[in-house]
Symmetry: C3
Subunit: 354 residues, 3 copies
Amino acid sequence: MPATLSCRYPEGGITVGHFARNHWYVAAWSSEVGDKPFGRRLLGEPIVLFRQSDNSVAALLDRCPHRLVPLSMGVCKEGRIQCLYHGMQFDGTGRCVHIPAQTAAERFGLVWLWMGDPALADASLLPAIDKYGAPGWAVMSDGYQHHPSSYLNIIENLMDPSHTTFLHANTIGNPLAEDKPVTTEKNDRYIVAYRWVENSDPTPHDRRRIDVGDIKVDRGQYFYFHLPAMSRVETIVIPAGTARTEENLSSKGMRTHSYKFLTPETDSATHFFWLHVRNYQVGNEQAAANLRAALEQTFAEDLQIELAMQRAQEETGLRQVVALEIDRAPSLAVRMLKRMIEAEADRQPAKETA
Amino acid sequence: MPATLSCRYPEGGITVGHFARNHWYVAAWSSEVGDKPFGRRLLGEPIVLFRQSDNSVAALLDRCPHRLVPLSMGVCKEGRIQCLYHGMQFDGTGRCVHIPAQTAAERFGLVWLWMGDPALADASLLPAIDKYGAPGWAVMSDGYQHHPSSYLNIIENLMDPSHTTFLHANTIGNPLAEDKPVTTEKNDRYIVAYRWVENSDPTPHDRRRIDVGDIKVDRGQYFYFHLPAMSRVETIVIPAGTARTEENLSSKGMRTHSYKFLTPETDSATHFFWLHVRNYQVGNEQAAANLRAALEQTFAEDLQIELAMQRAQEETGLRQVVALEIDRAPSLAVRMLKRMIEAEADRQPAKETA
Amino acid sequence: MPATLSCRYPEGGITVGHFARNHWYVAAWSSEVGDKPFGRRLLGEPIVLFRQSDNSVAALLDRCPHRLVPLSMGVCKEGRIQCLYHGMQFDGTGRCVHIPAQTAAERFGLVWLWMGDPALADASLLPAIDKYGAPGWAVMSDGYQHHPSSYLNIIENLMDPSHTTFLHANTIGNPLAEDKPVTTEKNDRYIVAYRWVENSDPTPHDRRRIDVGDIKVDRGQYFYFHLPAMSRVETIVIPAGTARTEENLSSKGMRTHSYKFLTPETDSATHFFWLHVRNYQVGNEQAAANLRAALEQTFAEDLQIELAMQRAQEETGLRQVVALEIDRAPSLAVRMLKRMIEAEADRQPAKETA
């Protein structure tokens, strides 16, 4: 009889409730912040967003300091937020009552929050999205799902090309199960796992997106993880043997740059914002609707796995029992994140930034 | 960046699970106790009420002492209660098996329980309701809402006139937001916060209740808190300048005496029984129905705030962050209650009364 | 005023999470294990069942050792189970990854699991079911209910004839409330409580099952509890005064052998499998459907009681307050079970069998 299974791959030592804070996190789609206060929990804290007189977004801790009623239950009045209970008003700096304010920014149709030391907040640190708004490229945005699982599980999933054959067999997966190894590279800011599958048949997902015809293709997949919580997946399908110049990739290839912005709600739940840009079917509304539906189905397939993993992790206190070759990039991503959180904690106590 | 918010107004030191017990609490409306046993949790304990052969109400701990099955699942048999499981029968004193019985009383259409030492139970301690059943006055009763929040939050809400302008703007509130200060007085048994607003226009709520006409009015509001858990709000609207004799108030004023009986279910949930008496629209069923609807809507507005406060209090361990002038009467009410509970605990261990 | 109720009958000292493991427990009806993996929690552990190439049933811990995803979310492939996430495959011994496998068996349309030391698993220890498949006897099987209560509560309920008069008054109970004492006997493997009621009128339940006519009957009831978790109830209704030979009981009596197989899901929830064999209305589908409905209603009546007891036990930490004469057999059953679990724990640490 085997003994109790032991844990071969510990969590990476990220303490419950510790997040990297000195970074821009997506808080909402811009379209979510309108005439009324908008409340959402981020990195474990209740936050309220509202628009000021100049239409910029302000963010406050979502508790009236008087009786702790959520300000998001209140109303906006001339660029201020007014508590539902006794009508106390606060401006975007939390003035009058010194309620701690967050620093907000808007870009790519998203509201970003700096959840750490305001002195370090720098708009130049907001991520770039290559090809966003470029001619010949279409944007699909406003994607949102609530994933009741740790963002670590989602990061690992998004850095793991090998599961698409099985879990996503009916959506984006390739039923041919090409078992090509991936190459992993990294620097200080990101890690990327990529592979090229050459001279192969187009997949069902390829054919659903464009009329590929009866040719062989080369297929490239790049899975980036940008610290602390952004996934970028670039995929290219191009006639086999085409030279891979940037010019050729865009003019002869079918390219998608897919972004997921993971904002921890708590240690065990995540806001999953997504958008992508593509260079095919630009202006074709029906094709776009089909593609959005396929992606949402794919993310829902991931969600059910992440949820099951979360439950098993909470029950066992383990994250994994055996480690496989396919875990190289996901494990590296979590280790990099752990080091980043530790380095930030060394600079200043994370608790005092709350 | 501000440090973590500190608590400027601690809870008042009322220990979880400690209630003032040697007092009459409302357990049910009389109409709720009919042919079948009626179970309800009061002050943290499951209680079953049933009618005896003489139609009086008996109250027992709602657990069959044999296997702990709730007696409220059983049936009434000739003035006794019979357990559903093995048919064990108990009379209103819990005879045969020495199940602890409570002392019950009925008045004003309500069933009252004495939750403490039976030796101290005295019907003369039941509260009086001024004008209840008096000629020219109408009773509106049988009001009940379940409020999943501490009764302390509800007491504070009921002692706080200033929130009606904001939270109740569409129901009983005055959109003119007359910001008149309140006067607070107290004695051993109750505290009252009151104010008169003179020579003002009638409010929308005034006009909905009676045809005021085109006059100026004086408006009086008296917010009483009677220890340990009864709220009495008396309001008067009277032509401006009228001498405030008791005779004038009743003959020329529109008067309402509104009672709320707060019976703790647990530390974090409350039975909210309400009734009121009024000297206007007596016998007008339609006006009464309109008034009842407006009040229930008002209490539901309070309920959403109390619920949000409860959640924030449980998450933060705080009850309040900043204290304002408007908190004088609510804070005093909670402090008086705390002292009462402590005094009772000094006389005998609260636990043994359970 | 009575002091706090004290516990006169402690739980029997069965530690949370300790079960007798070296025994056959029912895991599923055979019909539940088909083309797809079937997951169910047993004795606190998630287990997945699936059919191998030879159609036999295999059982594994329901966690892929790679990322802890439940294997029951996956698919069956040529007698193996394949994880939904990355396609890892396992055979019925858990080969490749040394995932702990359980020992399974099938009998009486049920899948049985040996939850303890595989070296002790012996098919001869599977229970016998008297008359199952015998000529002149009909089988009613595939019964299943989920009871969110400890199996100890269910065992006590099933060893307690006295509650049927009250709780089951409208189903199998006898409204005449014949209060005959029971005789209790036991040996190492089981305990039985039985009684004969002689020369009495047939009950409504008797008359619903067969056309008894206008006679007096003798009625026998035998309540067996077989360690660790099987109930057998044998009932006989026979013309009054008939000699009770085995030959007479079957040829002149209406006999039912009713089995309940209680497999703990956790400490506070139980899988309730049931089947019975009878020697009347054999081949009468309508009578069988009526009987099944009456039994399911009866078990649902028990379920509501077990659930209420479970809640009260969790709140009070007690199992019982007063002990009655009717508790002799139920209490004995729980004590025997406690000794069995302790004896097994002495032989080897229960934890290492997980």
